[in-house]
Amino acid sequence: MFRTFLSLRYLKARKTNWIGMAGILVAVGALVLILSIMAGFLEESRRTLRGNLADLVIQPSFQSSVLQENGDWIPMQTDVERMLEIIREDPGVEAATPQLQWYGIFAPDGGESALEKPMQDAIQLIELVGIDVEGEGEATDFRESLEAEFGKKPGLGKHCNVGRPADLDDPFVNLKPRSPRRSRPKVPILVGEQLAYLWGLRRGQEVSLVTATYDEASSKLNETAANARFQVVGSFRSKDNETDSRRIYMDRRALADFLQRDRLWSAVLVKLNDYERDKEDVRARLWSKLHAEGFLSAPGIRINEFRTWEDFRATLLAAIQNEKALMGIMLSLVLVVAGFTVFALLSMMVTEKRRDIGILCALGATPRGVLALFLMIGLWEAVIGSAFGALIGVAGAYNIDAIERKLSSTFGFQIFNRDIYLFDYIPAEVSFSGVAWIVGGAVFSTLLFAAIPAWRASRLDPVEALRHE
């Protein structure tokens, strides 16, 4: 009984112990706050990095036609319907849409210019994406990227005026010519906003796209260049700058025409009802089903055939995750420093309280009881300090943006530069299991540090201790 009573009394009576408590409070508060902010960055970056990527991307390697149960052969290159049917049957799937992707060179001034000066920045590698507008809107953030506000940037690309298309349900429409057209209307395309800025594109401008295709007729690894003029009818902004600077959307059929090949699609994009919950289940299920039907190789053999969006961004996400872990380790050192404070204060206290320890022994306290007494002082410091630290950390994390703005305006300089990031606020995401881990770790490490002076106290010779005046 005396352990609880005396430890609390010592804690109350000796204000120096509060320094240790304050140290733990600051350490735990900082850990909770910083890790919450890092988690917020991670989450926000995940959203940003994701861009227009769909939940799942299925890209068969098109090795053969597919034999159906009823004996029909499906020409896989042109017929995607059976595959979509299988995918849409899955209960975890919300939407699925085919896409045709190809690579090309962007050459606004015409194909010749691109090939004449290949090493100059007059050309740019781009991603040609043929889509079904409706399906794309259902399966990806395509529609959101058309709704994103178009803002003119000062300086670079200030002449650019490629805004969003007028009709979001039917964006691929040629602009009305000012003068009566003589030539055939060019294929309408949507360009990424960054691309438009970089090239100073104007609405209605005609540009050249150059690409290479494999010529089966010549049965050589010879490439036939295809090039054609397109009309820029609008721009889009996904959450990923990289995508915005190299992607061009057009109608899937139009892209197939341009490529002059019999392939009508290259990938199927899938959106799930609940990605975080179902991603692995649905992938496993669909993969084996599509394999059984002959569309894909056996699961796991060609991992590029079936990817989640995270697979595309694996390195970047891992980097942020890594930073978070490093931050956690570095800040844990603060906790160690707080532990040292507790160690020093308790050691001092044991020295000062030698006589009391002797008295307690004379009155019948066991060495173990004395050990527990000093451990409990450490325990209270850890529990109280980390509880308040966690509270302050959580409160700070929830209000970090307001706090930063207040601090910035008070001290007159920008602490968090919002222009650097793609989000204009400081994100924070409090994980309560994380907070519990931090508090648990703080209590554990403090107890570890308190154990040394407590053990020393328990080893004191009561006769020596009583002589201490």
Partner: protein, 252 residues
């Protein structure tokens, strides 16, 4: 026991033996040699007996007291408390013996400065009992301590800290603390040594009154002849040995 020689301790009153030691030697390392303080001491303390231990400084009185109080381990020999060979017990059982069988009164009071008078007095009960047992018996112990402290004239000092109290008051609290659990043995190391004469007298009265009322065996270390006179037996120590044992006060 039947040998009443001047060197051997003589039997005291015929109460049962509550504390005894036999062949106790204690030596301390000094440099690479060992310095022996006690050279084989045997004594018995019987229930209700008042035993004074006198001797010059450095005779080994305090060392012997620490050994009899189970605070210090003899280099050789045994200490028996309540019929048990204390140094053959586990540290926990030995601590229990200290807690329940022996009450200590020190020269420098030795109260815990962070606790009030009342809290200091009930400390042995807190040490003895688990949290739940203490909680259910708290009132009993607080009442017992309050009654004692009131009897000792400290009724209006219960909430005071030791630093707010005089030496005499502190020593009375220490006596209450020593007697809280009704131990059969009371060990007092110069209980009035740090007090002025008048105060010392009062404290001594309290100590002796309580001792005889409760029939506690009292082992008293003192330099004070007048105090020794009030004890039934006086042992004189010199150079780590008991040199004289008298069941009556020695002539001055």
């Amino acid at each position: 026991m039947s040998d009443p020689g001047p060197i051997q301790p003589s039997p005291g009153p015929s109460g049962e033996v509550v504390l005894s030691c036999a062949g106790v030697r204690r030596s301390f390392p000094v440099g690479d040699r060992r310095l022996e303080i006690l050279h084989g001491i045997g004594l018995e303390l019987r229930a209700g007996e008042r035993l004074a231990l006198m001797g010059t400084s450095g005779a080994g009185k305090t060392t012997l007291l620490n050994i009899l109080g189970l605070l210090d381990r003899p280099t050789e020999g045994s200490v028996t408390v309540a019929g048990e060979d204390a140094w053959r017990l586990s540290p926990k059982r030995r601590a229990n013996l200290r807690n329940e069988q022996i009450g200590f009164v020190f020269q420098f009071y030795h109260l815990l400065p962070e606790l009030s008078a009342l809290e200091n007095a009930v400390l042995p009960a807190m040490i003895k009992l688990s949290r739940s047992a203490y909680r259910s018996n708290r009132k009993e112990f607080v009442d017992r301590a309050t009654t004692m402290l009131t009897r000792f004239g400290l009724a209006d000092r219960l909430r005071h800290r030791p630093s707010q109290l005089s030496g005499g008051e502190q020593q009375r609290i220490a006596i209450a603390r020593a007697l809280l659990l009704d131990p059969p043995i009371l060990i007092a190391d110069e209980p009035t040594g740090n007090l002025d004469r008048g105060t010392g007298e009062k404290v001594l009265e309290i100590l002796l009154d309580e001792q005889s009322d409760r029939g506690v065996a009292l082992l008293l270390v003192t330099h004070d002849e007048r105090l020794a006179k009030r004890c039934e037996r006086v042992l004189y120590m010199e150079d780590g040995l008991i040199q004289a044992d008298s069941s009556a006060p020695i002539p001055t």
